[in-house]
Symmetry: D2
Subunit: 138 residues, 4 copies
């Protein structure tokens, strides 16, 4: 299971004293990019290598609020769905799940047109473990 860590920053809070909900999509993007980097799919030295993955849909559930200074851990799983890639996430503060989410993506050409899934991504996704019921009880 891939795990990404994020320390909640002051500028990620709002006047309710908690993490603003829009920032969860940023944390999930961070986790997705870190996953892709760990799998050799992004080269930070090669600009644009990560850019060409469009977000088709996002779904986020909030179970408990997160706060400034929280040390978050985000578990990630990924699978292929035809030409699309599906990610699921579980965002935890220790053993407490604060949020779960799913995002759907499609690869794009440099001209931002949808393209077929590149072979390296296909190959990586074939090796990933996917648990369909993973988020059900969160």
């Amino acid at each position: 299971m891939f795990v990404h860590r994020h320390l909640v920053q002051f500028y990620e809070t709002d006047l309710m004293g908690i993490i603003h909900h829009s920032n969860y999509l940023r944390f999930y993007e961070e986790a997705r990019v870190a996953w892709a980097h760990a799998r050799g799919l992004i080269d930070y030295q090669q600009p644009g290598s990560a850019a060409h993955f469009a977000v088709l849909e996002t779904q986020v559930k909030h179970l408990r609020p997160g706060r400034f200074g929280d040390s978050l851990e985000i578990d990630v799983q990924a699978r292929r769905d035809g030409v699309r890639v599906i990610f699921q996430y579980r965002l935890r503060r220790g053993g407490e799940v604060l949020s779960v989410a799913e995002t759907r993506h499609v690869p794009l050409s440099a001209e931002l047109k949808p393209i077929r899934l590149p072979l390296p991504i296909k190959t990586v996704l074939e090796k990933e473990t996917w648990t369909e019921t993973w988020l059900l009880n969160s």
Copy 2:
């Protein structure tokens, strides 16, 4: 139908040259707050009056990318679901729908505990028009 307008800012774009997807949740929040203000549920002069509505769940679909300088219009509809409030949104650039979304909320006390729906909100929601199939064809 309530409509909120948003001019896309430079700082809302990302290196793909389009609006970063996390900003749609900010636009939808803007539209929700503007709706509540238009319905007399928020007094901007009274701090905290808008603060106590937790986001339980968000779901956003992206159909076409938006860009810097786009003049967006966001249509809003709202309904009650027990102690919760459900909002749906359609984000347009003229006649083109760029994104649709649904968010679910629960009212909170000043101590951030879930409470029953305040009467003014109930009263407003009873007068709102809700079209169940509204987002189906977007």
Copy 3:
């Protein structure tokens, strides 16, 4: 005097209950872009027309905190300084000045290399009024 308006959004606050200081640079960018648009220097329909102005330096003073729902007005003045453009800003809530700022910019080519000031910008700047002591007493 050019004036830009901004209604402070929920997502622009932080856990102190006030506008997060990084957002003032976003408001000043909004005002600068709106000024350039009003002067005919940006065409929102032509992507990239506004993109090529680098930020060299920013200086922001905070006099009073701003809050959610505040209706802000930002006064803007601009002048040429050789190949550079200097903007000054005064951010008000009614008669109360909350912040003043200065930003310095240099025009860039499409390849992000510094270039000479384009003629249309020169022409516009020659007609602008600049009061050197404008921010001194704020």
Copy 4:
């Protein structure tokens, strides 16, 4: 010398393909908070302990653009100036300085009123090294 690390995220870029300038203030805040935490002045487990430091003034110079995936290092120095605290920062990508900055702060009570510098902060600042000419050649 205290050093804070930040990996540039996708959502921190803009349509010019570089870090949006407003995010530098967020990186500098991150570095300031990490410094305060390293010096024992912030307890992440105790909400509010970091909240009460107002930003009076910020000044940021941009020397070279930063990009998605850059691994940044931010050097920090701090000193006392009467009731205020001054921070200076140097933001590097390896040996290349991308930006330098200075921020000025004043401590606040829980009611957001300026107060005298708390003793623990005074004590920490007396032990810090400050080089007046540090940013001059950057």
